[in-house]
Each structure stands twice: as C-alpha cells, then as structure tokens.
C-alpha cells in the first residue's frame, strides 16, 4: 500500500492536534494540551480508488522556547501549515516556517489550514493577509476542527497531490 508521511506544522496552539483528531477520530475537544515532540496517527484514505496510508506527524508547535525541530520533517511527502485565524501573527509569520520547512524537505505538496473558522467574532485575518498567501504554491483551506468544516477536504487534497507528485 502507498504510504505517505504528512507533517503538521505551525505556531503553538493553532489547532494542529485538533485537526488530526477531527480527521482521524471525528472528535473535537476544547481542552488544550501542548504536544511534546511529535504525536503520530494513521489514517487510510482512498485516492482514485487506491488505498493510501497517511502517517500524520503532529509536530510540537513553535513557541518562544521551542523552535521547529527540522529533524522531524525528514521524509515528509506533504505538509499542512496550520494558522489560527484569531491570531494574525500565526499567518503573517508563516513565511518563516515555510522557509525552514522547504530547506528541510524541499518542495512538497502543501496546504495552509486557516483554522478556528467557527470563531467568526474573533477572526483576525484581513483580506490582505489571505491575499499574501496566494503568492506561494500551497493550497489554502478554511477549516474548523470544532465543526469539521474544511478538514476532510484539506487532508484529501493533500493526499491526492502527494500521490500525483510521486
């Protein structure tokens, strides 16, 4: 069976773990527990009728004390950058993360998940922020781990494009 490693990256508390939990277990929890190191889950999806096993590496979020550890990215076939739509800096500083990730794994299919779309009253991203994302070759999805909106679509788009890229 085809197997693909997907890395979830982003700043701390953007909802990486929640997106994986929604996608793999169809569940959501309000409780926040930061990931230490990497948490690994699996999910089988179908791409053009073929089973593909996604190995989901949920990387510890980057914060003031912890840099993104590039060694975890080794062998990734695809990347999901997770932005917290209620914290603008997690979007405007995405270029920094992309630069580091590209240096580690090269050009792989990538998705940006503009997460927490359910928090419309706290949404902090401007039109200019999202327009700026269009300058890069990644596919942007608006997602909510809480409601599930956009989550399946983001992972499946990545799965299809990782298979195409091989």
């Amino acid at each position: 069976m085809i197997q693909k490693k997907v890395c979830m990256v982003g700043f701390f508390a953007t909802g990486k773990t929640c997106l994986v939990r929604r996608f793999v277990h169809s569940k959501f929890s309000e409780k926040y527990l930061s990931t230490v190191g990497v948490k690994i889950d699996r999910k089988e999806v179908a791409v053009d009728g073929q089973p593909v096993n996604l190995l989901l590496w949920d990387l510890e979020g980057r914060d003031g004390e912890q840099d993104l550890q590039l060694s975890y990215l080794r062998g990734a076939s695809g990347v999901i950058y997770v932005v917290d739509g209620t914290r603008r800096e997690t979007c405007t500083r995405l270029k920094e993360l992309r630069h580091a990730v590209r240096a580690a794994v090269g050009d792989t299919p990538a998705v940006v998940a503009l997460n927490k779309a359910d928090l419309t009253d706290q949404w902090a991203l401007t039109g200019a922020d999202t327009d700026a994302l269009a300058a890069f070759p990644w596919h942007v999805f608006t997602t909510s781990a809480k409601t599930g909106d956009g989550v399946e679509a983001a992972f499946l788009w990545l799965a299809e494009n990782m298979v195409k890229a091989t």
């Binding site: 490693k5 409780k31 230490v36 190191g37 990497v38 690994i40 889950d41 550890q69 080794r74």
Partner: protein, 269 residues
C-alpha cells in the same frame, strides 16, 4: 551521537503487599563479529557492531495482586521478546524503515495485548499499563497505553509527554468533566485503555533527545504523591540516573507510598 545512561527502580510502597509494577532496560544490538577477513580494514564493520537501540519500559499491572503482577510481567516479556525478534535490525534514519519500525512498535503492543487477553477470563482478566521508549540516538520512539507516564526534561523545563488514558481524562476531553474533576475524581483511577483491557489504544510519539536531556518513565505510584514541580526539582538537581531514581522513589514513599512505585530515568549525553 547522543547516548543515554539509564537506571530503573521499583518499590512495593508502604501499603500494598505485593508489587504489580515491572520495568525493563535493555539494548538491542545488531552484531556482526568479524573472526577473519582478507579485507584490509575491519573498521568498515563498526557500523554493525555498535549498540543500535536502547529499550526502556515501565508497566503497572491492575486486576488484583496476583493477576496484575502476571499481566505486567507477561506484557513486558512479550513486548521485549517481540521487539528483539523483529526490530533488532532497525538502525534508523531511513524513512521507509522508520515507518516500518513505527508499525512494529504498534504490533508489539498489540501482541502483548493479545497474550495478556489470552490468560484472562471471559468476564475480564488482569490488565496493565505500559509506557516504553526505544532510543536510537538521538531519536526516542515512545509508545504508551494506560496512565503510566513519560516526562521529558530539557534546560529547566519538565513536560509530560504522554496523556493519561483514564476515564477521567476521556470525559474531560469530551467536555463532561473539568480538568480538575478529571484529576481528582474516582474516574482518574479507571483506565480507558490498557494492555489486556477491553480497549487498547496505543499512543505513538517521537522525541529527539539532546545531550543533557532526561527522559523519565514512571508508574502512577510516583505521580500520586510527587507533583510535577517536585519531580522537576529532583531531575534538575543533577546526579546520575540512579541518584535521580532513588530520590524520586524516596519522595513517593515519603508522600505516603500508597501504591507500588516504579521509575526509569535516562540521561542523555
């Protein structure tokens, strides 16, 4: 290359009559012993003779003293045997092999679960928690079932790597209990996932170690009596893995020792 020095200690505690905990520290070697060769350099084979992996395990049996001890013993024995037979040739850093190795880790837990289940009764037999780390420097592969824990210490920061698989935590995840209620209530002692239990949901993780990092595996006999701040102080105080183990067990006993207490401490250098 990051290497670790590990030490483990278990104690029956001050209340229980028997110790249902287990621990295991071992190394997995890939060995090619050169007896004679016409090749010019034997050094080419050094790659095959170095230590490949270190295996650290703690387990806490549940289900009555004899049953619990049996469950933890069978689980650790099955797991270590399975890994030594199937994962001993893994030397890391090849992506395809790493994926395969992670699968084997899960399979090892599933195998331990099946064997423990096979000795149970229809109404539910003994079960055990199990937390393990396979360290192939600098990478530590962690697998976890139940409420024994793994902690990681770096600099002055101690963090719990694993999440307790208890009914209390499960209900807190679902939003039915607050975090405080989950930790203090009676459901904090009921496992939602265990080797040999009705549910076995292994959590798998990876952590890259740096020199001076410490990895701690422990059963809840420690964490019932010693909070994270106190654990951090003892780990940060320095000393060998053995000294840290003894300090932690002493603290658990001084705090009441109501349960068996087991710790494995690994210092990276």
């Amino acid at each position: 290359m990051t290497t670790i020095r590990a030490f483990g200690l278990t104690h029956v505690g001050r209340v229980r009559e028997s110790n249902e905990d287990q621990f295991f520290i071992g190394t997995l070697h890939k060995v090619l012993e050169v007896q004679q060769t016409s090749l010019e350099s034997k050094e080419a084979f050094d790659y095959f003779t170095r230590t490949d992996a270190q295996l650290l395990v703690v387990a806490d049996g549940v289900g009555g003293s004899a049953g619990g001890r049996r469950a933890s013993r069978i689980a650790v024995h099955t797991l270590t045997t399975y890994l030594s037979q199937t994962a001993g040739c893994y030397t890391g850093f090849d992506v395809e092999q790493e994926d395969e190795f992670l699968l084997r880790l899960e399979k090892a837990l599933t195998r331990a679960h099946e064997v423990v289940r096979s000795v149970g009764t229809e109404t539910g037999g003994p079960a055990t928690t199990l937390t393990l780390a396979v360290v192939i420097g600098p990478r530590a592969y962690l697998a976890h079932v139940g409420d024994s824990r793994a902690y990681h210490f770096r600099g002055d920061r101690l963090r719990q790597v694993t999440r307790d698989q208890t009914m209390g935590e499960f209900l807190a995840d679902e939003g039915a209990l607050t975090e405080e209620q989950a930790r203090a209530g009676p459901l904090s002692n009921v496992l939602s996932s265990a080797i040999g239990g009705s549910e076995m949901l292994p959590a798998i993780g990876v952590l890259d170690l740096q020199p001076k990092d410490t990895l701690l595996l422990c059963t809840d006999g420690l964490t019932k009596h010693v909070d994270d701040e106190a654990i951090k102080a003892m780990v940060a105080a320095g000393g060998s893995a053995e000294q840290v183990c003894r300090a932690l067990v002493d603290a658990a006993l001084a705090g009441g020792g109501t349960d068996n207490v087991t710790v494995v401490v690994a210092r990276a250098s």
